[in-house]
């Protein structure tokens, strides 16, 4: 990485961040500001970014993390009750998602994988819309352009390439805007993926393309330690953030359970990208406390002691400790957060029950953007076939 790409002092820090080889267990080679005990430390570069976060924003971070955890619990319960076919829990990853999501600006575009419910919340996607996919009434559910939050993609890593291509488009738009003295704010793109997806070829290709074209994209890898039942050690022998060096752009490992550090690092990375200095890889070092999806059973592949150790680093607990210690939030605030969470859960539950089952004609209508004779022919057959049942019924009445 060239020193011209980074703010003063960053290079040394990032070099230190990325130089260490992977150590099993605790990672010390990462940016951390808010420790598990709730005390705020400092960082030569990112403390300046953390200072931009005012108390109100910190309370929003807490509120959103609590909200999305409550949403996750409710969705898991809905799945257990047979209301959803599957659920992909995020508990444990709230800081990584809420912190990074809040660092984005409205003009930025987000490409999620399928677990970014927290980012969706921050981007103002109606959470009930997320459940459509898991209830089996839609393969999407929301209009991605409304909040610049793309649809979930179930094929691992496919979206990382879409993000880079989109960023290449942003780059061209910005070039045209600069030529026309436009005052549109500069934009960047964020691609979310997990440690499991980091093994997919598309992640590699996306980083090659991003580097080649200096695309304004931030790769945000949530290393939650488990790709279903396979541990990170099987995906990589070095910290994932180290890989960025091989592509020629900065890689930063951040404590993914520290919402303040995640926000600071992501804000830096997005600014870096928006200013035309190229891509950044962030590895948010975190942990999926629950199952990969409601279909698996973590007790079959990992020790409960490991889960317990990570619960000690809980992102909500540490922010609560900090807010209380600093006198930034009181019991009334936390009670209100809990009440709001319960309200959200109630809303999600009632909306889920009310999600409309689509007519298959809707599927016929959206295969192609332009008229297609085979679709017309098969739909006509279906209509005739369906009408046959109706006339049978009429005859029997």
């Amino acid at each position: 990485m060239g020193s011209t790409q980074l703010p003063p002092g960053t290079e040394e820090s990032l070099a230190a961040t990325t130089a260490l080889a992977a150590a099993p267990g605790e990672a010390t080679d990462m940016v951390q500001l808010l420790g598990p005990d709730g005390t705020l430390g400092s960082d030569p570069i990112f403390s300046d970014y953390a200072k931009r976060i005012d108390p109100e924003k910190l309370r929003v971070f807490y509120t959103d993390m609590a909200k999305i955890r409550r949403f996750d619990q409710e969705s898991t319960a809905l799945q257990r009750q047979g209301e959803l076919a599957l659920w992909v829990p995020l508990t444990g990853q709230e800081a990584a998602q809420i912190g990074s999501g809040h660092a984005s600006q409205p003009q930025d575009y987000i490409f999620p994988t399928y677990r970014e419910h927290g980012v969706a919340l921050v981007r103002n996607v109606d959470l009930a819309e997320l459940l459509k996919q898991f209830r089996g009434v839609s393969n999407g559910g929301w209009d991605p352009r409304e909040n610049n939050f793309h649809l979930y993609t179930l094929v691992l890593a496919a979206q990382t390439l879409h993000a880079v291509g989109y960023a290449m488009g942003v780059q061209r738009d910005q070039k045209a805007a600069a030529a026309s003295d436009s005052t549109d704010p500069k934009a960047a793109v964020m691609a979310y993926f997990g440690d499991g997806a980091s093994s997919e070829g598309d992640v590699h290709e996306s980083m090659v393309f991003a580097a080649s074209y200096n695309a304004p994209v931030v790769f945000f890898c949530q290393n939650n330690h488990w790709a279903i039942s396979v541990p990170t050690e099987v995906q990589t022998k070095v910290p994932l953030s180290n890989r960025a060096k091989g592509y020629g752009f900065p890689g930063i490992r951040v404590d993914g359970n520290d919402v303040i550090a995640v926000h600071a690092v992501t804000e830096w990375a997005l600014e870096h990208a928006r200013e035309g200095r190229g891509p950044v890889l962030i590895e948010a070092y975190t942990y999926r406390v629950g199952a990969h999806t409601t279909a698996d059973d973590p007790t079959k592949y990992r020790e409960s002691a490991e889960e317990a150790a990570w619960r000690e680093k809980d992102p909500l607990d540490r922010l609560e400790k900090y807010l209380r210690a600093e006198g930034l939030a009181d019991d009334a605030f936390f009670d209100q957060v809990k009440a709001d969470g319960d309200e959200l859960a109630k809303y999600v539950r009632s909306t889920t029950h009310g999600l409309e089952v689509p007519d298959i004609r809707q599927a016929f209508a959206s295969v192609y953007a332009e008229q297609h004779p085979l679709i017309a022919e098969e739909l006509a057959w279906f209509e005739e076939y369906s009408a046959g049942f109706e006339s049978d019924q009429e005859a029997s009445n």
């Binding site: 209009d143 649809l151 290449m168 996306s206």
Partner: protein
């Protein structure tokens, strides 16, 4: 009216597209300064710059995946995959993403990506340079697949492909790249709708359906059959998905006999779909079963024996004899 090769016609078609659509861009390996291994994009980088004509890293999934992202941002990318057999690394992006994004978003998102693939054999090349994978893509809903057989169609069909809001796979008959023909650059004529078949030769005794590289072979076979007093109709399908069954059906109702010829293996191929569909639509008009002429169920063979593999005039005439014997 201008005379040009198919390769030049595609080049001119791309030039016209880049000129009229500022959001269109080309991307692929070696398509810039080299002008593509077949020089189909020759000179375009000089004219439009490397923001519009991108020499990409060597990564097919990357080319298609980033093209999807560009399309989502409002651009119209035209990707080149260097050879048919190299499209498989991009198969995932094409079938699970490109084909499905419009449906997944219930029509809110369009991804007007065009993927150009030089395809087919007969050029004496080595492994992975002579395949015909069109059926693999035709089976996937959400994609449109077309293949021109002459310069005029090549010039217009590539432009229409870019204008189409759906993703289009544009199979270029590489062994016909140097086939010259008249191009009416003023008017697309029948090429206005690239998804329709053309009756390129009228006849009354039998119909041969072909597309891309086999159209000249089908025409030569039909001409040879006249020596035996046979009047053979030839249809250039042009579009593999959607398939213009109406044109084929109308022809079969006239001739009563149908031969489908393509280079891809017959098993599970487009020919089987046409045979089945026409049997359903025009069974009582058929004087003989629909006969397929295509490749064998084997990897595309080594170049020194590819003549035995490829459908040629004799193989089509043999099929015609079998059909007429009923």
């Amino acid at each position: 009216m201008a005379t040009m090769t198919i390769a030049k016609a595609i080049n001119e078609g791309l030039r016209a597209t880049l000129t009229k659509n500022p959001k269109s861009l080309l991307m692929g390996e070696d398509i810039g300064h080299l002008g593509g291994v077949y020089r189909v994009t020759d000179g375009l980088i000089k004219e439009f710059g490397d923001d519009r004509v991108l020499d990409t890293p060597l990564a097919e999934s990357g080319i298609v995946g980033t093209a999807i992202g560009l399309a989502l941002r409002g651009y119209s990318p035209v990707c080149e995959i260097q050879f048919d057999g190299f499209v498989y690394p991009a198969f995932n992006q094409i079938t699970t993403q490109l084909a499905k994004i419009h449906a997944r978003s219930l029509g809110k998102l369009t991804v007007p990506v065009v993927i150009r693939i030089p395809y087919g054999g007969g050029i004496g090349s080595i492994e992975h340079h002579s395949e015909s994978p069109e059926a693999l893509f035709a089976h996937t809903a959400g994609l449109r697949i077309i293949s021109p057989s002459n310069a005029h169609d090549a010039y217009w069909m590539i432009q229409k492909a870019v204008e189409c809001k759906d993703p289009v796979i544009f199979f270029e008959p590489k062994r016909r790249y140097w086939l010259k023909g008249d191009v009416d650059v003023e008017s697309p004529g029948l090429s206005e709708d690239p998804f329709k078949a053309h009756v390129v030769r009228e006849g009354t005794d039998a119909t041969i359906v072909a597309y891309g590289p086999l159209v000249p072979v089908a025409l030569a076979a039909a001409n040879a059959a006249t020596e035996d007093g046979r009047s053979v109709e030839v249809i250039d399908l042009r579009s593999i998905s959607p398939l213009d069954f109406d044109t084929v059906e109308a022809s079969v109702k006239k001739t009563g006999r149908l031969i489908v010829a393509h280079e891809a293996p017959t098993f599970g191929g487009i020919g089987g779909e046409i045979a089945a569909r026409i049997s359903e639509r025009a069974f009582l008009h058929l004087e003989a079963p629909v006969i397929r002429v295509g490749g064998f169920h084997m990897p595309y063979p080594v170049a020194k024996v590819e003549e035995d593999y490829l459908p040629d005039i004799d193989k089509i005439l043999e099929a015609l004899d079998r059909s007429l014997a009923y």
